[in-house]
């Protein structure tokens, strides 16, 4: 038990470290660059219309206050951290006066949901098919599946989403292309709403799964083909243990352990992929929020989304790390 607590503490320490460094990095980016966020916002907002100089000056002043950019760098640093710890990102410039936290609060569940479903699907499917492919090395279907996954996996998320958009937008329009649910539908725990949500999530999830599944497939296939030569698998075969039992309890179970570690490692890039896919399909998650914030010079929004992204991914990794001792009894021994 004690070693388990130590493990939790160690992972928590890493979690705090990541969030700390990440948010400091964000501070660096926005405060050490030649152009400050005020200028960035002002130039974005005055880009398509002319404004009177006094109005612009007033804008600058209030923005400076809003963004906490008064005083020395150190003062700004303190203000920055105070606000973040209070989860206070201020009002959104583009959707004034709605608070950034509100906007993020609305978008986050969609992103998290998309991420969860897509990641679980590709992890489970990829590992299962990959495990079979590693064990039955001469099966033609598995080899063929392997080739397809290998072809899809290196393609970046955006391009797969783009291709799907073309295919289902113009060639075979049977699925909705944007939004999380039917427009003008009232959200609620009703069947038609839930079905609509599912229908609208099909394309984004498909896009993420198509890219992600290849990675798990390849990893599992090579893990399994190595584990098959391990002493305990050979011994189980010598002992006449049933093929099904060997495949599940001896081979796959042991191979899944490094795959869980792998999940923690790639979660950052899956997150990237998820928010990009959201932009393509107009899914109302963090991705679309981020991009619209940049286009409209909404510094608070962009800062808020970045911070929340860092915390979300780190928290997810932390949770996965917590699972680890339950899967591998050897960890508990220290």
């Amino acid at each position: 038990m004690r070693s388990f607590l130590l493990h939790i503490l160690r992972r928590f320490r890493q979690f705090v470290l990541v969030v700390f460094i990440g948010i400091n990095l964000t501070f660096l980016i926005t405060h050490i660059t030649p152009i400050d966020p005020v200028e960035a916002s002002v130039s974005a907002m005055t880009a398509f219309s002319s404004s009177q100089p006094e109005a612009v000056a007033l804008m600058r002043k209030s923005l400076k206050e809003l963004y906490g950019l008064q005083g020395t760098l150190f003062d700004q640093y303190i203000v920055f951290w105070k606000r973040i710890l209070a989860a206070d990102f201020g009002p959104s410039l583009s959707v004034f006066p709605t608070l950034v936290s509100t906007l993020i609060g609305r978008a986050l569940p969609w992103t998290v949901g998309l991420l969860l479903v897509a990641t679980l699907l590709s992890w489970i499917l990829g590992n299962f098919i990959g495990g079979l492919a590693g064990y039955y090395r001469n099966n033609r279907f598995l080899k063929f599946a392997g080739i397809i996954f290998m072809a899809l996996h290196p393609v970046p998320y955006y391009i797969v989403a783009f291709i799907l958009l073309i295919v289902f937008g113009y060639l075979w329009p049977i699925l909705p292309l944007t939004g999380a649910y039917e427009m003008n539908m009232q959200p609620g725990y009703r069947l038609d709403f839930i079905l609509s949500v599912i229908r609208h999530s099909l394309l984004p999830v498909l896009s993420l799964v198509l890219v992600g599944i290849g990675g798990w497939f390849l990893g599992m296939r090579s893990l399994v083909s190595n584990i098959v030569t391990e002493d305990y698998v050979v011994y189980a075969e010598l002992g006449g243990v049933s093929r099904a039992k060997i495949l599940t309890s001896y081979v796959m179970r042991n191979a899944l352990i490094p795959q869980v570690t792998g999940l923690a490692i790639v979660l950052g890039s899956i997150f990237n992929g998820a928010i990009i896919t959201e932009v393509v399909f107009g899914y109302p998650g963090l991705g679309r929020l981020l991009v619209s914030g940049v286009e409209r010079g909404d510094y608070s929004l962009v800062l808020g989304v970045t911070t929340v992204s860092i915390v979300t991914v780190s928290a997810a990794v932390f949770l996965i790390d917590l699972l680890y001792p339950f899967l591998d009894p050897r960890i508990q021994a220290g």
Binding site: E230, D231, Y232, V234, Y235, A236, E237, L238, G239, G240, V241, S242, K245, S249, Y250, R253, N254, I257, L327, D328, P329, R330, A333
Partner: protein
Amino acid sequence: MEAALLVENLRAYYLMRYFGIVREVRAVDDISIEVQRNEIYGLAGESSSGKTTFIKTIAAAIRPPLKVASGRIKYGFLDRDIYDLSPEALSAIRWKHLSYITQGSMNVLNPIRRVRQSFLDFAFRHIIRSKREFFKIVDGHLARLHLAPSVLSAYPHELSGGMRQRVAIALATICRPEFIIADEPTTALDVVVQKSVLRMIREAQQEFGSSMIFVTHDLTVHANIADRLGIMYAGRIVEEAPTREIFHNPMHPYTAHLVASLPRIGDATLKKALSGAPPSLADPPGGCRFHPRCPLAMDICRQVHPALTTLAANHRVACYAASPLVKPGAELAPAPGGIRAANP
């Protein structure tokens, strides 16, 4: 009385094709032995003599690129060659009639399952009782072998090396198999643990009446446990006799050298090493495979390999120098077409 195991002219080769190079490694080249009931047959030899390949082959546990080229393997408890069994039949005899204790039993138990689950996996299907009765049988078995029943709830990494080996022996004997193959079971252990493990193996064998092939390069272990001893060199058996005979009257120069290199109390003479190294099994020397290193090599040794001939009662040798009765062996034809792979 029918032998527990009869091996006739067994040949097993590795056939490798990679990047355009073809290589045939004759790991087991025409071996014939017979193991009697209730007997421990020791198999001795250096690291590259082909002992492990031979063992794996008679357990029908080989995979490509290793294939059986020709020969016959007949166990007493089967009515046909083991390679003629269907996969289901093969699985049915495993553990119940034929079990295996491996070398370095450090890693043979699934690291993420407790020992009791391993017992379930291996033996439950052969002992058709309820789970409670099954574990009563297991407890009794462990007690008879002087193992604490608490060992069942441990994970493999929580046990010491010697303990794991003992658990492996208990596991291998739980179904009272007629035949046990032991592949270097004491090699990775220190001498003190070795002694208790050997004792356990002897007791188990005597109590359950299994026949055993015990493989190790360590002659002193053979002296302790084997009834009869077979010496392997470069894929062939070069001498075979009851253990006492081998130690008191080794007839093959290789055996003589092995026996002579054993340290004896009070003996202060310098030991001389054999010149050269064991041959590569991919390209063995012609004639007798030992002739490049043999101090007694004659012309005929370089040309044709000697047949394994029975001399005195139960003593077989393959050496022209040992006795004029030893004749040249048949030149081995290339492996007949129809190389049999093991049942997957």
